[in-house]
Symmetry: C2
Subunit: 158 residues, 2 copies
DNA sequence: CTTATATATTTCAAGCTTGAATTAAAATGC
DNA sequence: GCATTTTAATTCAAGCTTGAAATATATAAG
């Protein structure tokens, strides 16, 4: 299997192919996201924004500042304020003042928050494993490689 | 290059790999979507929902019923009602009664709507071509193949 | 026929998200 | 020091989206 040389496609054809790819990428990720959202609600009585916030916090045991969370999740600051407010009311997160900067707080999961998230995360991983079950390790490796490349391209365009 | 046999990974490792893939898929498509949304607003003074509706209508010159549009775009019926209301006020779409079914209307682009969309679509394609510029035809073909497969998997799980 | 069920669309209240304005504190420049 | 600019977080009004209820019509069953 010789790799097809890029020159087989005209720039116009390549542009159309990239557009088709984008539409398929959007469709697939949208369908998975809808499915995850639906199961979070029906199986766990949870929402995706709450899951996402706890997910990034779980990876940073030392906590994250509000603006770090919103940057990571690409949503507005005010949005994160509201979500963390509610999670904190429920005893799942904690605002810890940052020594030496009285404007900032580090948000952490409480032990209860860690427990709840660990449970959700395991179930979530099971869903994804089922949804992506049709992809073998070659498929996965191939897509990850290209998605990483895409991610770098997006960094450049800033 | 021998294909890596699937058995090299334990089911646990495969599950983790699928999860990583999903996170990267979500990240890439979210970043592109944000970028498209931003440029639609700043360069064309337009919104993604409006663009999406016109986009599906442009592919169906005979028109589409409201529920067909909402199913295609995976958004609520009521949402489409609002968007088509505004597009119609602006003379870009038209509600045509369906003969023999007084409940239904087919929504079409007006000639003006077609013109406006053609202009937007060309610019949009240019953006996508730039954003995905780092992917060659092999990359594109490889991703499309796997995304199609994923799409089929999602159909099964219904 | 007529009742029941299904389909097409709209309306609307509730919740989510954004972006701009605000408040407060820290960092920088002179 | 003092003024300016930047950074962190919150508040809030406007717009978007959903899901459920309402309306109207069509189809199916008896």
């Amino acid at each position: 299997m010789t790799p097809t040389p890029e020159t087989e496609l005209t720039p116009e054809q390549l542009s159309k192919a990239r557009l088709r790819l984008w539409l398929k990428l959007l469709r697939a990720s949208g369908r998975i996201e809808d499915e995850v959202r639906r199961r979070l609600r029906s199986d766990l009585d949870w929402t995706l924004p709450r899951f996402d916030v706890m997910s990034v916090l779980a990876r940073q045991p030392e906590g994250m500042k509000m603006n770090e969370i919103s940057k990571k999740l690409r949503v507005s600051n005010g949005n994160i304020t509201g979500i963390v407010d509610k999670l904190t009311e429920e005893g799942l997160t904690l605002r810890v003042p940052v020594p030496g900067d009285r404007r900032a707080h580090k948000v952490c999961l409480t032990p209860k928050g860690e427990d709840v998230f660990a449970e959700h995360a395991a179930i979530h991983e099971g869903w994804i494993n089922g949804i992506l079950g049709g992809l073998n390790s070659d498929d996965i490796e191939g897509m990850i490689r290209r998605l990483d490349q895409l991610d770098l391209t997006l960094d450049e365009g800033r």
